[in-house]
């Protein structure tokens, strides 16, 4: 119980500190992208407009949340050491893993707030677009039969909001949380925040190739031993980030089953737990 209070206090302070660093200003760029995009594509058909809006908004949401996860996590340990706040905290009866957990919780809270705000903005613009398209459709079909009107309305609503967008947004959050946890692991043995950021970005790209490397390795293709060794290393040491890229197909209208969503969320949860446990393990022996 006492440790939970400690984690809560560190998490809250981390979130407050990050908010004070004005990280939410990136939302202005997101808003500009979403609203500006809507204005720019106004001359396209409504199906194209909604497709573009979803493509750009969810893509931007994924970019911003991934960047935020990496940058916010990579910065905190060197900053706390530079400010010497880490010594003040760890001089008290605070286990090192609680310190890391509190920091991670604070960053996850920041990511959750950022994704909630971006989702709210995106869904608001989508709703406005849908209302406009529905009003235009009703006016155009004023003299048509009720069946034709119902079909036209169904066409508009089918291309705007669908319930699958919500699990898609949750998966963006899980991927960002995974990246935060991975960056935390790197930062426990890194010597500078630049090294941590560079490593995390490199792992981000390699992680997207992990699925290809895994398939290549497990298919047992007859190639050089060193080639197989390399793919095995990638498959074993790096996270499968492609597993979290479901939003591209969700935007295109592919329905996500509960089983697939829970499986993906579970995989994300395992990665987060593993990276956190390894971070705590390495950090517990680090000389400060």
């Amino acid at each position: 119980m006492r440790l939970a209070v400690v984690v809560w206090a560190i998490g809250r302070n981390t979130l407050t500190d990050l908010v004070r660093q004005k990280v939410f200003y990136f939302l202005l760029i997101f808003a500009l992208l979403v609203i500006g995009n809507s204005a720019f594509i106004a001359k396209l058909s409504f199906q194209e407009q909604f497709q573009m809006l979803k493509d750009i908004s969810l893509g931007a949401m994924s970019v911003f949340s991934s960047l935020l996860a990496i940058l916010a996590t990579a910065n905190f340990l060197p900053k706390d050491m530079e400010d010497r706040t880490i010594y003040t905290i760890l001089a008290k009866p605070v286990p090192r893993h609680c310190y890391l957990l509190g920091k991670l919780c604070g960053i996850l809270a920041l990511l959750a707030i950022a994704i909630l705000l971006m989702s709210g903005l995106f869904l608001g613009v989508l709703w406005l677009g849908e209302s406009t398209a529905l009003a235009e459709t009703r006016a155009q079909f004023a003299s048509a039969s009720p069946e034709d009107l119902a079909l036209a309305i169904k066409e508009v609503t089918a291309s705007t909001f669908n319930a699958n967008l919500l699990p898609g947004i949750l998966i963006i959050f899980i991927k960002a949380a995974l990246l935060a946890s991975l960056t935390l692991f790197i930062s426990t043995f890194a010597t500078s925040s630049i090294f941590t950021i560079l490593m995390a970005v490199a792992l981000y790209f390699i992680g997207h190739l992990q699925a290809t490397a895994r398939e290549y390795w497990l298919s047992g293709v007859d190639v050089d031993w060193w080639s197989r060794l390399l793919t095995a290393i990638v498959a074993l040491l790096f996270p499968d980030l492609q597993a979290f890229n479901l939003t591209d197909d969700i935007i295109a209208g592919t329905a996500i089953s509960l089983k697939l969503f829970l499986g993906t969320a579970a995989l994300g949860g395992i990665y987060i737990a593993v990276y956190f446990a390894l971070s705590a393990f390495v950090f517990s022996g680090r000389e400060l």
């Binding site: 497709q51 893509g59 895994r214 479901l246 591209d248 089983k259 390894l278 393990f281």
Partner: protein, 257 residues
């Protein structure tokens, strides 16, 4: 490297090995549910360049597709049909599950580009203009057929293919098949089945079959009994020499109406 770091890397590899079955199962489940079907191969790499390919690999397929679509729209405004076709090809490769992209790409090619080719003042030969027109129509058909291959679980592209076969190629037999395929989906609009019958009625040698199908629709009730259906049935009854007591006008259901 300290022993803790070495141990952490080894533990990470162990955890990675333990997670392999879950990763494999998830990848199979995702493929079965039509996720992650895009093939990011060397052909795509050549078309979108290194930066684009990196973006596509990093999970930004959909924003990249959106940007290329806007570029294709600019090409349309400048009537650069060839460039448009290339961009559409890339966009549909990046987002093969997006019906909008397949549908619009086909429409631009089979309708806009084909008409533009036919009216091309720079081409003095009418035969070559017609040839170009046919090529664009077939390009439009190809987009829809590839779209169907990537989206066999949705009816919309079957409908669009049927419309193209009917209006642009006047292949009524194939159009009927495509409408019928669309109608077989539970969420398809009710007109798909009627249109399948109308097209079958224009398919040489299939008139009797068409009559049976249209009559079966008529029997279904009020929702299908539209003036076009009734008029066509009457016309076919005369052409097929259906006995007077079997015609729709003589049925109790019709008399009640």
């Amino acid at each position: 490297m300290k022993w803790r770091q070495v141990a952490a890397v080894l533990l990470l590899a162990l955890c990675g090995a333990a997670m392999l079955p879950l990763q494999g199962r998830l990848a199979s489940a995702a493929q079965a549910a039509h996720f992650r079907k895009t093939s990011l191969d060397i052909g795509l790499r050549e078309r979108i360049g290194q930066a684009g390919f990196l973006a596509a690999l990093s999970g930004f397929r959909s924003p990249l597709a959106a940007i290329l679509w806007i570029e294709a729209h600019s090409a349309w405004e400048n009537t650069e049909w060839g460039r448009m076709a290339g961009l559409f090809d890339t966009v549909t490769t990046l987002q093969p599950r997006s019906l909008t992209y397949w549908d619009m790409a086909s429409w631009h090619m089979a309708w806009n580009a084909s008409i533009a080719a036919l009216q091309n003042e720079k081409q003095p030969s009418e035969a070559l203009r017609i040839k170009a027109q046919r090529e664009y129509i077939h390009l439009g058909r190809d987009f829809l057929e590839r779209g169907i291959k990537n989206n066999p679980d949705r009816y919309q592209l079957y409908l669009q293919l049927a419309v193209l076969l009917r209006d642009k190629l006047e292949d009524h037999c194939a159009a009927s098949e495509s409408f019928a395929k669309a109608a077989s989906f539970p969420d398809a609009p009710s007109y798909a089945a009627r249109f399948a019958g109308y097209e079958l009625a224009k398919c040489p040698g299939r008139e009797r079959d068409a009559y049976e199908k249209l009559r079966a629709l008529w029997v279904q009730g009020e929702k299908q009994r539209l003036p076009s259906l009734i008029n066509l049935l009457r016309d076919m009854e005369i052409r097929l020499d259906i006995p007077a007591d079997e015609r729709i006008d003589s049925t109790p259901a019709f008399r009640q109406n």
